[in-house]
């Protein structure tokens, strides 16, 4: 028993950054592990991956946990910062971690334009359908009618379908999974990391503390299983009516196409015009 047990992914974790800020039952730890597994399985050099995140629970998945270059930025803007990182050094693989508040509310415009530009960035948008860090306020992803700390009479608005939005804006790769679907998520992240265009993976994640406060599902395991129960594969969803899909989570790959990414297009421009 003298040999200490080492987690095989510990080599990707920053020294002194083990203390986790996430609540018990949060899906962020699962998503962090899926990202590191994907990097490990691809054999990528973490020294050549730059992580960029915004503000919110999801932004603390890579910061400071991952042992890589890390830009922990302002609320809603990680994709704009990442655009400068990627165009400034196209050799770096750039991964953005964002949430539904960060990426779809305050940063929604940047998400649309990063998709339209088809810049070679992998974005993992962690969707817990609520503002967790600030105390359970309504988000642009909160279901219609749901009570939150700022919709005490129920949510009048309807939630965003972010994957559809990103698909329409022009991304090269779009997929949605939940924190329950770890194998599919790892496989998707691997595709996204290698995609030479904008790759977007939406991950529905349990938030038993804030979201669970209002749904009544506060048990971590139960909230993860709820995501599983609500999920419908995209192949099956195609033959379902809108009523049948109400409240369900359509999972799977929605887009996987090869279109020239922005930094590649820019490097061609440099070759034509440049010195």
């Amino acid at each position: 028993m003298s040999e200490a047990y080492h987690h095989p992914l510990m080599k990707y974790v920053r020294k002194g950054a083990l203390r986790q800020p996430h609540c018990s039952g949060c899906g962020n730890g699962i998503i962090a592990q899926c990202m590191l597994r994907a990097i490990d399985e691809l054999g990528l050099d973490m020294g050549k991956v730059a992580f960029v995140s915004g503000i919110g629970c999801s932004s603390w998945i890579p910061s400071p946990f991952f042992n890589a270059d890390m830009l922990h930025t302002t609320h809603g803007r990680p994709l704009a910062f990442a655009t400068g990182v990627k165009l400034g050094n196209p050799e770096l693989r750039v991964v953005v971690f964002t949430g539904d508040g960060d990426g779809a509310a305050i940063g929604g415009n940047h998400l649309i334009h990063a998709s339209r530009r088809n810049i070679e960035i992998l974005t993992v948008l962690v969707n817990n359908r609520i503002y967790g860090m600030t105390g359970g306020q309504v988000a642009p992803t909160t279901p219609h009618g749901m009570k939150t700390s700022t919709t005490p009479y129920g949510n009048l608005e309807h939630p965003f379908d972010l994957s559809k939005l990103v698909e329409a804006a022009g991304a090269s790769y779009v997929a949605r999974w939940t924190a329950f679907h770890v194998k599919q998520l790892v496989s998707s992240i691997k595709k996204g990391l290698l995609k030479e265009g904008f790759a977007f993976i939406e991950v529905e994640t349990p938030c038993p503390v804030q979201y669970g406060r209002y749904t009544g599902v506060k048990d971590p395991v139960e909230s993860l299983l709820m995501l599983k129960r609500l999920s419908v594969p995209v192949s099956k969803a195609r033959s379902m009516s809108e009523e049948e899909l109400e409240g369900r989570i359509v999972i799977g790959e929605f887009v996987d196409r090869d279109v020239v990414g922005l930094t590649k297009a820019y490097s061609r421009l440099l070759a034509e015009v440049g010195a």
């Binding site: 890390m70 990442a82 400034g88 415009n109 440049g274």
Partner: protein, 386 residues
């Protein structure tokens, strides 16, 4: 064999616009990333940058708004590119949160604000010096910053280079406060041989990553670049010298604020520049900056022809405010007349510094948004002189 920069810009006399001189100065300084959102009266900077940058291997990006422009500029600086954005008042307002991020994360970059009339949409193509305090205190929280004010086309060329040098030397965003008059002014300008121009590069770490302390030194910490093996952690939250987030203990918060302020305050006298003329025998000094200084200098020369002992002081650096240099001016004269194209911004700094050493008066133009008409200034000068 000419370098790409030499192909773009021949030394010698050129007839060009202030905004073009800004773009050329940036290229000479080594700027290789420029992000922009269209806004008058700054558009010519972007038009020139979008043409020139690809010729020198640089990147031009038109972003979806000014928030994204400054964000991508900061991102690009962390991969080692000298980066710049340009805008006018409304865009400068949108950038403020991320300018604070650049200050907090000690990211070198240059922001050009070609000021127009505000508040709000205001008037797009008339000059006003309304953003002086915004350049100083526009972002939330406590910090020090650097802002420069060009008065001419040549000034715009040289001060854009200076802005990059200061940004690199002190690892901080630097603002160039131009205005619609200087930006759209076309005049002849003597461009020096680029080989005679000093270009400063940021300090990079020499120590191994585990020993590197990339943040919070009063004498400017070395800046590791993404992808160079340092695996640096950059955050806008309060952090320690390694960049680790530390947001609970007041001692760490105190350390961050003091260090980013002291980094500028300690080096204030190396940073600030003031141009003074005709002060030896002067009773009254006209003090101005930016486009207004052109009219002020003209008035000083005219007044001297009329026998008035009038001196001239031009602030080249607005922030940090050149306290010592302005106190020196005050000690040489009895009165200082501050000319600004606003309702009185920098005059408050002059009053703070001068105390009882000289009497300070303020003169806006007869009509805000226009230049100080010399005849009007001379009339007011005579009232002060008596």
């Amino acid at each position: 064999m000419k370098t790409p920069v030499e192909k773009i810009l021949e030394p010698g006399t050129h007839f060009m616009m202030g905004n073009e001189a800004c773009a050329l100065g940036a290229i000479v300084a080594g700027c290789r990333y420029f992000a922009f959102y269209p806004i008058t009266p700054a558009n010519e900077i972007a038009e020139h940058m979008s043409t020139l940058l690809p010729k020198v291997g640089g990147v031009y990006m038109q972003m979806e708004d000014e928030i994204a422009s400054i964000a991508s500029v900061i991102g690009s600086s962390w991969v080692g590119r000298k980066s710049m954005t340009a805008t006018s008042g409304p865009g400068f307002s949108l950038m403020q949160e991320n300018i604070g991020y650049a200050i907090m994360t000690e990211t070198p970059c240059v922001i050009v604000d070609v000021q127009r009339c505000g508040p709000s949409t205001g008037t797009v193509s008339l000059p006003m010096q309304g953003d002086v305090y915004q350049a100083r205190h526009g972002s939330h929280g406590e910090y020090e910053t650097i802002a420069l004010a060009p008065s001419s086309v040549k000034d715009t060329f040289l001060l854009t280079i200076e802005a990059f040098n200061l940004a690199e030397a002190y690892r901080t965003p630097v603002t160039v406060l131009s205005d619609a008059l200087v930006g759209h002014l076309t005049e002849s300008v003597e461009i020096p041989d680029p080989s005679t121009i000093t270009i400063i590069e940021r300090k990079r770490p020499k120590e191994p990553p585990e020993e590197c302390r990339p943040f919070l030194s009063e004498d400017v910490a070395p800046m590791p670049i993404f992808g160079s093996g340092y695996r640096v952690h950059v955050t806008g939250s309060t952090h320690d010298e390694r960049g680790f987030r530390e947001v609970e203990r007041p001692l760490f918060i105190d350390n961050v604020v003091r260090k980013i302020c002291m980094k500028i305050q300690k080096h204030r006298n190396e940073i600030v520049k003031v141009e003074t003329r005709y002060l030896e025998d002067a009773d009254v000094a006209l003090l101005a900056y930016g486009s207004v200084a052109r009219s002020a200098l003209y008035v000083v020369k005219r007044a001297r022809e009329e026998g008035l002992k009038v001196g001239y002081a031009r602030l080249i650096t607005l922030w940090p405010f050149p306290d010592d240099a302005i106190l020196d001016v005050a000690r040489k004269v009895n009165k200082i007349m501050v000319l600004e194209n606003n309702m009185g911004q920098i005059v408050n700094e002059v009053r703070r510094v001068v105390g009882c050493e000289a009497e300070v008066t303020f003169l806006p133009p007869r009509i805000l948004g226009t230049i100080h008409e010399p005849s009007y200034t001379i009339k007011k000068l005579n009232e002060v002189y008596e």
